[in-house]
Symmetry: C2
Subunit: 235 residues, 2 copies
């Protein structure tokens, strides 16, 4: 008996298995349904009932896969965190002239958040309602604060950035990013990718490398922009 059972378990857990277990398909259906819902409605309107009717199974089966809605959000957050740290690698870890690296990183950040904005928004919305999720969200932010702080300090040691207390600046920049990305990409209709990217990039460069001569090689930035920039008071 034990051999048989073990082989079943082995097969079942094999990720290359061509026919994934039913449970995996259902689980994915729930995640897809959640995403679909959050593209058009805020997290506060999501209930287990609505979600599962979207996913096409009964309400109670939700609890086979997730403890509750916040647990589900935590799952989505984990995926997002990987993606974001992936695209942030150039500036956080790359070598060479930091400004092109920063451009690449922000380009990627905007791309990822443009695609997954609702997750960002929904997690931020849901976090205060659940202790665990609140912790996960705080850690997520803190990981970025730490990474950015370290990078600033490295660049300061290398003379690329003026010596100031790095952490508050890192926090400031990260909170602005979070606000802008959630605000513009958190729900449909989404804001303009290019303008968000440019706004974020401009502030980072100005804040960190502002005393250096600005490279005009920013891809996508219009040719001349030396006059007082158009006041972007659109909230």
């Amino acid at each position: 008996m034990s051999e048989t059972k073990l082989s079943q378990i082995r097969r079942r857990n094999d990720p290359t298995n061509p026919t994934p277990r039913k449970s995996e398909r259902t689980r994915q259906a729930i995640l897809d349904a959640a995403l679909k819902f959050l593209w058009t409605q805020p997290f506060r309107d999501l209930t287990v009932g609505k979600l599962m009717s979207l996913a096409g199974t009964s309400r109670s089966s939700f609890y086979q896969y997730f403890q509750d809605l916040h647990d589900l959000m935590e799952t989505l957050l984990c995926g997002l965190e990987e993606d974001i740290f992936g695209v942030a690698a150039p500036w956080l870890q790359g070598e060479g002239d930091p400004i092109p690296l920063l451009e690449e990183t922000m380009e990627g950040l905007v791309r990822v958040c443009y695609q997954q904005g609702p997750i960002l928004r929904a997690v931020a919305d849901a976090a205060p309602m659940d202790e665990r999720l609140e912790k996960a969200w705080a850690d997520f932010l803190k990981d970025f604060d730490d990474a950015v702080t370290d990078r600033i300090e490295q660049h300061q040691a290398a003379g690329l950035i003026k010596p100031f207390d790095a952490r508050p600046i890192a926090i400031s920049l990260n909170r602005m990013d979070a606000y802008l990305l959630i605000h513009h990409f958190g729900r449909r209709p989404r804001g303009n990718r290019e303008s968000v990217r440019e706004a974020i990039l401009r502030v980072w460069i100005l804040t960190l490398y502002g005393d250096k001569p600005l490279a005009e090689s920013v891809p996508g930035s219009r040719a001349k922009r030396h006059a007082k920039p158009s006041r972007s008071k659109n909230s």
Copy 2:
């Protein structure tokens, strides 16, 4: 009959009335109870039942005074907004050397939030759960973004601040303030007033007036602080 009725109403609405109406006392008791609760517990644990048992009346009477918990939070937010705009006046509207004005404003901001931190935190926590409150909170933030943006642009016109796009910087600074104030003063035990004040002030001055020689007149800052500042990596 109409005279009698009117005089009652007049008396009742007179704020200088030595014996305020019962309803006013109850209303205040509810607000006090809410504040007391929020000093020690997060908004997510607040229910109408708990609140009213703290306030000393029955659960259902809550609804005579507020539509729901979010409506109550909105009331608390309004009070806070007044206080904050009050203390922010020096830098936002004052005349003269901007750095002492900024110091005064940040001193006041920290003082007010030290005293009312839980309101700030609870409103921020509760906002995503209610459309109206979300709007009120967004407006609250936007009012600040607007005011700071205007002030930066005025100082830019006067040559006190270098010419850059003011709004993203204003947003960045405001979001950092919100984060730090909520993080350190949003619940007990609260963080250190002085260190928060210094951190915020440093970033604002560095960001806005960074190219100017720094006045060492910051009240409360220790005499010499020219070496690399102690890395404040305490989250």
